[in-house]
């Protein structure tokens, strides 16, 4: 059947070719046969699935968005670092602890670089990690539920930008610091930056089974700006590479003062060596204060624990663990090819692209050929580690990804294009414009030994786009390209949410099979869950009133509540008894000072309401749940603070 369909389409395609040639031989090349051909490549018929998932950072939205490729359709926004009224994330009692930090409750974040967990250097689709740049944190999202399940704050860090990239077996998710700061933080003159500020590179271990995160150690580096990073892989597994800028150690007008040195560095960190040192008791436990927030899928509740110390390692304690590779002109992206041999430094102020060789680096280290040292860290000779230079590929190189066929794709912010070039020969093979001023790009499986080819998408930095105008403020835009041929082919423009910095993408098959449909009610261990109508009750504890409430199509139980007084702290603990896919129930009460709750089948969520006015206030289901959704409502009677109305509740009969 499919074949018949395909051949029919092919015949249609041929007809279109002929007719368009006949009608207008000098028509725009984009219309006619070419355009219809491209449309087919991104057309995912109704009822069919996209072949790839793409997870785009939500930038200053603080979230992560889920897209399908090649259609460019957005499926979901996953709340991570920001309050999200749609589901109640960060508003419900259960999820407020997720946004706790050593600075108190932080309702917003700036998410940057998602990276999917790996096994043996290949993407395994279990978890996705993403960093928060402003109040340094790393989050883990479970890809069976597509929910944020863990957030760890990163102490001693500031501008958590060279993050969150995972090693070959997800041994570590790594977080570097873009802004060096006094470590430990203290009151000191800013002008004494040089020599006194430091940059912490954090290696956060990930437990193999549970994925639980824990800061194993922090390497305290000189006070440069650690911009981006990537793990070594294959032969360079065990190493991590960070680009640096501001090796001048300026603290003001960086756009000038941090652009003085002809070369900055890529820092190469042998984390296996430091790990061994730490496992043998090396490093120093330093007092610290940082939040570790974990969401439990069974209690449906997050807990926040303050951790009080962190292990720090000074590079000088572990000789041979850290080296500097001179790299021209404030390099931004730091990208490692699938073989692990080439380390690309995208010198954003350079006209050329610099590629270092891991093999040459090892040889130079072996031969102790050093050009000098910085703060006790050996600097290798530029020429000794250089694999090659891509000459004049474009202006303002930022990031590079690989297709696994020996080609690299680099974005150029200033000349607004993606350039395809060949590893080893360094020749430019193709270039295509972006619309406009591209930042990151993503190839599915990009940060792994096995990129999954076929598609590449470029995420633009300038919000100016090619859509209908929507006023001064608009969303960003991305372009999808087919990279299966010799030349890249632009397929699609699609809008993106927030400012997506990086994105991670992979084939859909692994993830979609594991995606959960419901939470099992019998596994619900929430302390305030009501697992049947018999468990529903209203309990007063002093000024607190706890309402154990259930929802099922289409009623609340109880739906009449009396005895609540002005100034009480009323907890609505809403359990959704449904065990059917896609039957959430919502909860909102008039005058609620937080968001609604959106409760998935089998889940319990709690909302706190402190009534300020006497009256009878309605509550209702906010999610259209059945043909009788409009009937899903109830009343709560609020009496004066000094009244003696007793606590009562009912369903289906007059309240007695």
């Amino acid at each position: 059947m499919k074949n018949i369909l395909k051949s029919t389409l092919a015949i249609l395609g041929v007809l279109v070719t002929f007719s368009s040639c006949n009608n207008s031989s000098n028509s725009n090349k984009k219309s006619g046969a070419l355009a219809s051909n491209v449309a087919e490549k991104v057309y995912v018929a109704p009822g069919e699935h996209d072949s790839h998932y793409a997870f785009l950072s939500g930038g200053y939205s603080g979230n992560l968005t889920v897209y399908g490729l090649p259609s460019g359709r957005m499926f979901k926004e996953i709340p991570v670092f920001s309050q999200f009224p749609t589901s109640g994330y960060g508003y419900s009692e259960e999820t407020k602890p997720m946004l706790n930090t050593s600075h108190g409750f932080v309702p917003w974040g700036d998410s940057h670089h998602p990276d999917i967990s790996q096994t043996n250097g290949e993407i395994d689709g279990r978890f996705i990690f993403i960093n928060e740049n402003n109040t340094p944190r790393i989050a883990k999202i479970d890809l069976t539920t597509f929910e944020t399940t863990e957030i760890i704050e990163v102490p001693n860090s500031a501008g958590n930008h060279s993050s969150s990239f995972v090693t070959e077996n997800t041994e570590y998710v790594v977080a570097g610091t873009r802004f060096s700061v006094p470590i430990p933080q203290r009151d000191m003159p800013i002008s004494e930056y040089k020599g006194n500020f430091q940059g912490a590179l954090s290696f956060i271990s990930v437990a193999p089974e549970t994925g639980n995160m824990d800061i194993k150690f922090q390497v305290l580096m000189p006070g440069f700006n650690y911009d981006l990073s990537h793990p070594g892989r294959g032969k360079s597994h065990g190493w991590f590479f960070f680009t640096t800028y501001n090796t001048e150690e300026a603290s003001t007008l960086l756009e000038v003062n941090a652009s003085q040195n002809d070369k900055d560095f890529i820092a190469a960190i042998n984390w296996k060596k430091i790990e061994e040192y730490v496992n043998n008791g090396g490093g120093t436990m330093m007092p610290a204060n940082y939040a570790h927030n974990v969401y439990d899928e069974h209690t449906h509740t997050a807990t926040s624990t303050m951790k009080k110390e962190v292990r720090v390692v000074n590079p000088s304690e572990v000789p041979g663990a850290v080296y500097f590779l001179p790299t021209p002109k404030s390099p931004h992206g730091c990208d490692v090819d699938p073989s692990g041999e080439y380390i690309v430094g995208n010198g954003k102020l350079s006209a050329n692209l610099t590629v270092h060789s891991f093999t040459k680096m090892l040889a130079a280290i072996e031969n102790k050929k050093f050009a000098g040292e910085a703060y006790g860290i050996p600097i290798l000779n530029f020429e000794d580690v250089l694999a090659g230079v891509v000459e004049q590929p474009g202006l303002g190189p930022l990031h590079t990804e690989f297709d696994g066929q020996g080609n690299a794709y680099t974005t150029f912010f200033i000349s607004s294009e993606v350039v395809k070039w060949k590893l080893g020969t360094w020749e430019v093979l193709d270039r295509k414009p972006t619309f406009y001023s591209v930042g990151h790009l993503t190839i599915p499986g990009g940060n792994s030994r096995k990129p999954q080819g076929k598609y590449m998408f470029a995420m633009n930095k300038i919000t100016k786009d090619r859509y209908l105008p929507t006023g001064p403020e608009m969303e960003h835009s991305a372009q999808l390209y087919d990279i299966s041929g010799d030349k890249m082919e632009l397929l699609l423009d699609f809008p993106t949410h927030g400012e997506p910095h990086y994105a991670a993408a992979m084939r859909a098959d692994l993830i979609k099979e594991r995606s959960k449909k419901i939470y099992r009610l019998e596994d619900n261990k929430h302390p305030y869950a009501a697992k049947s109508d018999d468990d529903t009750k209203v309990v007063r504890k002093g000024k607190e009133v706890h309402i154990y409430m259930t929802t099922i199509r289409s009623h609340f139980s109880p739906d009449n509540i009396e005895g609540v007084k002005v100034g009480d702290k009323v907890y609505f603990h809403v359990t959704n008894l449904e065990q059917d896919f896609d039957v959430p129930h919502g909860f909102a009460v008039l005058g609620q000072n937080t968001s609604e709750l959106l409760v998935m089948p089998g889940q319990t969520k709690s909302s706190v309401w402190i009534p300020t006015k006497v009256g009878v206030w309605p509550f209702y289901c906010t999610d259209f749940c059945s043909a009788l959704h409009q009937e899903m409502q109830g009343y709560i009677r609020v009496s004066a603070a000094d009244s003696s109305t007793p606590i009562k509740w009912s369903l289906g009969e007059d309240i007695e």
Partner: protein
């Protein structure tokens, strides 16, 4: 007669499949259920195709006032049917064994088949009665009441066999593995009868 007896034994033993596999299956698909809900009917009870299917079918049916799907203890059939099946298997095997040692004639084979067929028809009749009651004995306080053009209440009786549209649901009712094994088993006993008869006719002419 040896060969026929062995086939008789195998045929009747295929009924044991009913203890492992469903006899019948009813699937309910709808626009909002692209992955249909389903119930598997075993000789000793009804189970959901997916873990929560029965609960979800009951949840939907309460709108139109249908009773919940019976639990094994709520229908006498689910305690009697397993005994009847087990009894027929034993009877079939005993007849087969006696046939093997030439203590009974091939006519017992067709006797077993006819007996089993009568029981089967009775079972289907009973099953259909239950479906009828399930689909039309509705709660008068049902939230949604649909009537036929002539004003009588609409019946939600699922089909005994085949496809039927019930409101927004596409309902398909077909035998399942256990049922097919039973049909094959019963057919084999017919084969046994035919073989036994052929042999005995041959003997008679010799």
């Amino acid at each position: 007669m040896k060969k026929a007896s062995i086939i008789m034994i195998i045929g009747s033993m295929l009924l044991l499949g009913l203890f492992k596999f469903p006899l019948w299956n009813i699937m309910l698909g709808a626009p909002q259920y692209p992955e249909p809900l389903g119930m598997n009917i075993y000789v000793d009870g009804i189970k959901g195709v997916q873990e929560f299917d029965l609960q979800n079918i009951d949840g939907l049916n309460h709108y139109i006032g249908m009773k919940t799907i019976p639990k094994p203890g709520e229908m006498w059939e689910f305690s009697l049917f397993p005994k009847v099946i087990l009894g027929m298997v034993l009877l079939g095997v005993i007849i087969g064994l006696l046939g093997y040692v030439n203590k009974v004639s091939y006519k017992f084979f067709i006797g077993w088949f006819l007996f089993m067929s009568i029981l089967g028809v009775l079972g289907m009749y009973d099953f259909n009665n239950w479906l009828m009651d399930y689909g039309s004995n509705l709660d008068p306080h049902a939230i949604i009441k649909v009537t036929n053009p002539d004003g009588t209440p609409m019946s939600y009786k699922p089909p005994l066999f085949g496809y039927q549209k019930l409101l927004n649901f596409d309902v398909t009712s077909l035998p399942h593995i256990g049922g097919y094994l039973m049909f094959v088993g019963m057919s084999l006993t017919l084969v046994a009868f035919w073989l036994g008869r052929k042999e005995s006719l041959k003997k008679a002419t010799e």
